[in-house]
Structures are given as C-alpha cells and as structure tokens.
Symmetry: C2
Subunit: 470 residues, 2 copies
C-alpha cells in the first residue's frame, strides 16, 4: 500500500508533493519494475486530495519517463537501472574555490585595465538606447546567426569612424565584431596559415601570449629597442606573423616611428604568408598631439589585421571589440565561421552605433582626453616631487598608463606585497615579460591612472612611497 | 623650395593641411634623408599662416617619427625606407564579399533560432537597468579581468535560480558566464582530458559539431532511438565525452526519459575521464507539464557539465550563456583561464540579475509560455488541416520548434528554394545530420514558431503548402 505524506499546510503544491514523493520511491526501487500504480481515483481518495492533483503528478512522471501508461489498464512503473541519486546528499564547496562575494572596496588602484566610470555619460548612453528601442530595429530580434560578423549597420558606422580617426581603410564587410580582443584573436588564428610562427613584443601583452600558448601556437618573443619591436630581430628569428601595439606599445609606451613602421610593412610584403596584427588598444588617448594614424592605413598589400576596442574608451564591461580583416581573410572567415554566433550584445551594438553617429562618442573622448591628460600630468608631478631623483618615467604622452622604475633595494614583489597591505593595487612590469628577464636592474611598474581620481593622487603616491621605501 | 597648397576655405584645419602635405612629400621621398625643413617662422611666412599652425604640424610629424629635431638647429627629415603607400590608391570591395545592408524585411520565418521581440517587456528591462546604474555598483566599472567567470553576485542569482527551476546543484563558484554557448564550449574543451573522444547526437546541434571539428577534436556521431541518444551505441563506439540535449533533443524534440538518463549517468561514472555535457538550450518552455529536471541534478559523481542560455528566453542578442562546472574543473578553469576576460556585457549581466531577483524574469517566462503554447497549438492545427494526411509531426510539447515530415515527391532542397522565392524562411532537417543520411525517406523540416505571430500562421502555412506541393 502506497504511503505518501501530503501536507496541505506546506507551500509546495499538492501535485508537486505527490510527484516528488513518487519519484523518490521509484528511484529508490521501492516499486517493482512494471508494478501498477493505484488508479488516479484510488490514490486521490487515499490521500484525500483532488483527482486533478494526482493527474498532474502522473502526467509529469509520464513526461519524464518514470512511469508508462497502458490504455484502459492504468499506470505502471518503468524498469530503471540503479543509481546513487544525489538528492538528499549535502554538497559542500571545496574551501580553495571560495571567492569573496564583494570586489575590493576602498582600494586605490594603479590598474591599467580600468576606465573611469564616474565620467561616463550614462544618461546620454541611455538616451541612445531608448532611441534604438523606439526604432524597433529588426536587427534586435534577429538571431545572431544571421550576422556572424556583427550587425551590418553597426559595422558601417565603425568603418566610417575608423577611417576618420585612425586612417584605417575598410569596408563594413571587412569588420568582425567580438566580445573582447581575446575572442577575436582566437578566431583569427584559425584564419591564418596553419603552421605559423608568431612573434610578440617582449615585454608585451601577456593575455594574448597566454591565449596563443593555450592554442599551442608557436610563439617567439622579440626584444624591443627604442623604436619598438626590432625588425632585425624579426628577420633573424623569422616568424611569419607579428603581433604589435605600434600606437602605444604595451607596456613601455613607445610610439613606433614611421621609419620602423615602413620597415615592418616592407618585411610583411616580402612573403605570401606574412601578417602583422596591429592591436590599437588605447589609440584614442594622445595628449599634446593628435592620434597616430594606424599601420593598417599605410598597408597596400593586405598584410595588416587591425584590432581595436571600445573597452578603454567607453567602459571595460561593454565588451565590444573589432578586427578589420584583409579581404582574402574575410572570405576565409565566412567559410570557417559562418556557423559562429556573434558574441556582442545586440542592444549594446546598436546603442554604440547611435552613440557614435550622434557625435556623443567623440564628445566623450574629447572630455576624457582632458580628464586623463590632467590626471597624468598631476600624477607625474606628484611622483617626481615625492620620489625626487629616485624615479624614472617612461612612455609617450599617450594612453592610460605609463611605466616607472625606482631606485630602491626592495624587489618588485616585495613592493607589491607591501602595497597590497596598504590597500594599493599595483602591477609590476614583470607580468609583461614573456621570456626574458627584467630589462631594468630595478623594480619597474605599470602605473595606470584611468581609475585614479585627482583627489586621490596624493594618497596614492603616499602609499606607493611607503611601499617602495618605508 | 617647399610648395604647399594651403586653403583657408577648406573645412580641414590649417595645421592638418600642412601635416598631411608634408607627410605625403616625405613618404614620396621628395625630401632627402636628413634634409632640413624650413624653420617654423620661415614656413609660416611663406604660407601666410600662424606659427602655431606650423608648430602643431611639426609636433605631430615629430610624434609620428617623420622628422626629428636637433636643439638650436631645427627640424630634419628622417631617413625612411621606400614603401608603396596606399594613400591615394582606390580600394574596391571584391563583389563576392558584398553583404546586403538590410536584413530580410517582409519574410515569414520558421526559424528556430529566433525569439519574439515584440512580447519582451523592454520597459521593465530598462527599469532594471536604471536601478543598476543608480546603485553605482562598482562591478560595473571594474575591469572584466577581475572576474573571469562573470560578476559574482550575478552568478549567485543564477545558481539560486537554477536550483529552483532546473534542480541544478551548484555554488556560484562553479558557474562560468560567456557570451554564447560556443564561447563556453571553446573554453570547456581546453579543460577536458586532452585526447578525448566526443560523441554527439545525430541528428544534432551542428554549430557545436562544427566548433569541435574546427578545434580538431575527435568526434563520433551517435544515432538516436526513441529515447534519445543510444547508450548501447555509446558503449560500442566508446567515446569519453557525450554532448546531449536531454530536456528537448535538438532537433527531434525527444525528452530523454529517466531510464535513459540513469543509464547515461551510470556509464559516465564507470571511468575517471568520462563526462556528459548537458546542453539545456530551451528548457524553459514546456507546455502542459512542468519543466524536466536537469541531468546535472541527478549526478553525484561530478560528471555532468550543465550549459544553459538566456538567449531563448530573453533575446538572442543578449548573449549571456553559462556553464556549471564540476568543482575539479573549476580549479582547472582558474589555472587555465585566469587571464581570460569575461565576455559578457557587464551592464547586461547586472540588469539580468535585477530582472531575475525582482521576479520579472519568471513573470516573463510564464507569459511567453502561454504565447508560445498557443502558437504551437494553432500552427499544428493549421498544418494538419491544410496538409491533411500528408504531414507527420514529431517532438514533445516543448521548446520553440517541432519537426515535421511531408509526403511529397519534392526534395527538401527544392522545397526550400521554392519557399525562399515565396519569402518563407525554412530549415531542413538535413542541416542537422552530422554524418548519416536522412532518417526519413521524405523531406523533414524544423518548424520554429518563436518569431511567427498568430496572425501570420495562416499565411505561413499557405506558403509552406505551395512550396511542398504546388
């Protein structure tokens, strides 16, 4: 005789109680295989519940395959293999995996990966978003399988914008959007010649280096000289693909001069399988001079793949990056990634388009350039005053970070640990070395100022001083 | 003597005109290497422009490395290699690459990859967004490098939600967000044993199949029987990883019964390196019965990786999917992808969290379930009436599509071509076969109804009838 414990005072629906208890009984093999269940009427009378409740429970058990029905005979228990069901067992989280629920509160940060949220014109952004929603753009409901490269009109806006501001030559058809540079690079390596050797600037962008390593790519690290990546070294080591940050080398801040650019382009044009990946990650921010036109704009051999992002200029969390492919690679992209769903949020794509087309974006950049320029200047002033002769600053008047070395007996690691205790977030240059040792015989740091408000600069420099010397 | 053509009636700034023309002259080697440029004062007098304009032009050329300066001597032209500069050359787009700027207007669509935008409560969504912005959540400005798995509080909401609605057992620490299932699967295969053999349902989800193929994974195609993927076939072919869609097999619509689930889990528990990837892509939508609890919830051996998405239930363009990893794979994820930036839009993540926590999401799902249920019923009624005995419909009362075969002499390809001419978008089952031939000896189609408003069902069925028979 079936004994179920149904309580009308529980918040759970009656039918769910019947369903759950029967399911449990069946899984624990308290029924024989093919055993007949009581009829719906019978069970409803036994439990003193409505036939409807029993029926709903039976239907759900039927849909999930716990029972089967025979016409005019009733319901029977399925023959099930034994399993150790996990219900009832307690799950515990391994202590080493526990994450802090809150992100680091009262920290002062020299992170170079941040942007200033407080200066972002959210109201204007929301206005653009509302406009997009009002237009009932059909691109918004369309599935992302229709446009693996991103929404066409958005790419049209980006192509126009890149031509104007970066001298990049492109048709919308050549642009591929992606939710981060890493996503794009992951696709790109599948488009480039199969047994390629990649060269990267050292020190350089470790996140891409790691990505290539994970993909088992063959990577060579190339030293920098004062003009950036050394073309002589490239010729000696003989990779066929070179990943560079010519507008503002990461992390050293070198702007690659035109002479080196020409050498690099000429090198690339000398063989069929050579490519340059130009990562223009913070090109919007130059102080005291205009932005530096892209390498891509000088390339007439379709050898440059241009990569850019709106993460630095809008918000890191926007997750809209793009690459401009040479036309022969567009063809390859469509063959290989025609099945791939676009990864960028659709509403964010269209809002961004509106934000650019309405001129708000350029206004925002201009505004941020002033803010960042002032911050950069004040920070450098403050550093030079506080550290007197014991600091050297490197890098062009550009971007959202610069590099500095310190005359101290402490190691970079020790300084970082001390800074951390003092709630100062600090990144050493060591994290950017791909293979070689420190270029300098003293600790070097990447000092980002994007998320460092003017009123906190003094305190930030104090904490840094304490970590370096006291 | 330097001859530049400066026009004050042009919209371009004077300094840009000087800069552009000098740059061109230098690139075309109209200067000798190391040739001295006229002094700023001299040039300003020749051109009849301000010294400031000339200075700005020189500073920009200096920053880009076209010229160099010697203290007290002036400015000199850099020695540059020859390059074929692309400026001036006209770029043309290869005709085969041209995309239509507009997406397909007055189409009626049986696409199964869409969602109904018109029923989405954009106002509520925007309200949630505004709330998020008001809270000035620091997660919003934080860089996505801080939370490679996604914002913690968002994952906490998703874990709670999955437990409630899908019986999924998880801690927020086990959840990884990603801008699409494809992005997640790409990472996942790097966490699973290196020389794995994957098994997929055939017919099945070609987008993942293609992705695995691109990554050079070893994949076996496994036939279905009426309970879904055949465990006997799995044992015979002996893969170690099985990718399944048990809640609503794509595309056949089979709900995997509990007997098969237990067999599959038991198979997975029998060896160390075995895993089940459970893709629960449209689990929210069941009509006439409750949702089917996940496979993951029955797994006590940490063998199931659960993958889900909000693309079907909110908007395809949202691009927020997630996977729930067994704890030992979380550890591996952090080792391998600690450097990877989270790909989901930050504002969308937080808005989604608010949307779920405020109960709006469940309200929306309930509403859509009614809409889709009605649509599904009307569409089936209409199809059965119009095609009388010449149609067979397959698939449980679930999801956003079902399968149908037709008694006709026409091939699926011919029907699709005819439908296209008649502005009807139609997908054949053939696109879902991974290796084998058509299961049926007649044309079979995936009929999606998510983007098919009730008032267009009659017209859609008419067009389909014409394509199949007339």
């Amino acid at each position: 005789m079936l004994s179920l414990n149904i309580r009308t005072d529980k918040r759970e629906f009656i039918y769910r109680q019947i369903y759950n208890q029967l399911k449990r009984e069946i899984l624990l093999h308290h029924f024989l295989p093919n055993e007949q269940l009581p009829s719906k009427r019978e069970l409803s009378e036994t439990l003193n519940v409505s036939v409807n409740s029993v029926n709903s429970a039976y239907q759900q058990l039927l849909a999930e395959g716990y029972i089967y029905s025979k016409e005019r005979s009733g319901f029977f228990v399925e023959k099930l293999d034994t399993i150790s069901p996990s219900f009832g067992t307690t799950h515990t989280l391994s202590p080493e995996l526990i994450e802090p629920a809150e992100s680091g509160g009262h920290l002062i940060s020299f992170s170079h990966m941040s942007a200033d949220r407080s200066a972002f014109p959210f109201d204007n952004w929301l206005n653009c978003e509302r406009k997009v929603l009002k237009l009932k753009n059909s691109d918004l409901s369309d599935d992302p399988t229709r446009f693996p490269q991103g929404i066409y009109s958005v790419r049209r806006t980006i192509a126009r914008f890149l031509s104007l501001t970066r001298g990049v030559n492109s048709f919308p058809e050549q642009i591929v959007l992606g939710s981060g540079t890493q996503v794009l690079v992951q696709m790109l390596i599948q488009l480039l010649p199969v047994s390629s050797t990649y060269a990267m600037e050292d020190p350089g962008y470790r996140r891409v280096y790691q990505l290539l390593k994970n993909q088992k790519a063959d990577i060579k690290e190339i030293k920098l000289d004062k003009k950036g990546i050394s073309v002589n070294e490239i010729k000696r080591i003989n990779p066929n693909i070179v990943y560079v940050t010519p507008s503002h080398q990461f992390p050293t801040g070198i702007v690659m001069p035109i002479s080196r650019r020409i050498q690099l382009l000429n090198w690339a044009s000398e063989a069929e399988n050579r490519y340059i990946i130009e990562d223009d990650y913070d090109s919007e921010f130059k102080y005291g001079f205009d932005t530096i036109p892209s390498l891509q704009g000088l390339d007439s051999f379709e050898r440059v793949i241009y990569i850019g992002t709106f993460s630095k200029s809008i918000l890191p969390g926007l997750r809209i990056s793009y690459m401009v492919l040479p036309q022969h690679l567009v063809k390859k992209f469509r063959e290989r990634f025609g099945f791939f769903m676009q990864t960028c949020n659709g509403l964010a794509q269209l809002t961004l388009q509106n934000f650019i087309d309405s001129g708000e974006y350029q206004k925002h950049i201009k505004h941020m350039r002033q803010i960042y320029s002032e911050r950069r200047m004040l920070l450098i002033e403050e550093l030079e005053k506080r550290f007197a002769g014991s600091i050297t600053i490197y890098g062009a008047k550009a971007g959202l970070h610069f590099m500095a070395t310190f005359e101290t007996k402490r190691s970079a690691e020790e300084i970082i640990i001390r800074a951390k205790k003092d709630k100062l977030e600090l990144y050493s240059l060591n994290r950017c070395y791909l293979s070689q040792d420190n270029l300098f015989n003293k600790p070097a740091f990447i000092l980002g100022f994007a998320n460092l408000p003017v009123e906190k600069i003094g305190e930030a420099v104090d904490r840094l001083y304490r970590a370096v010397f006291q």
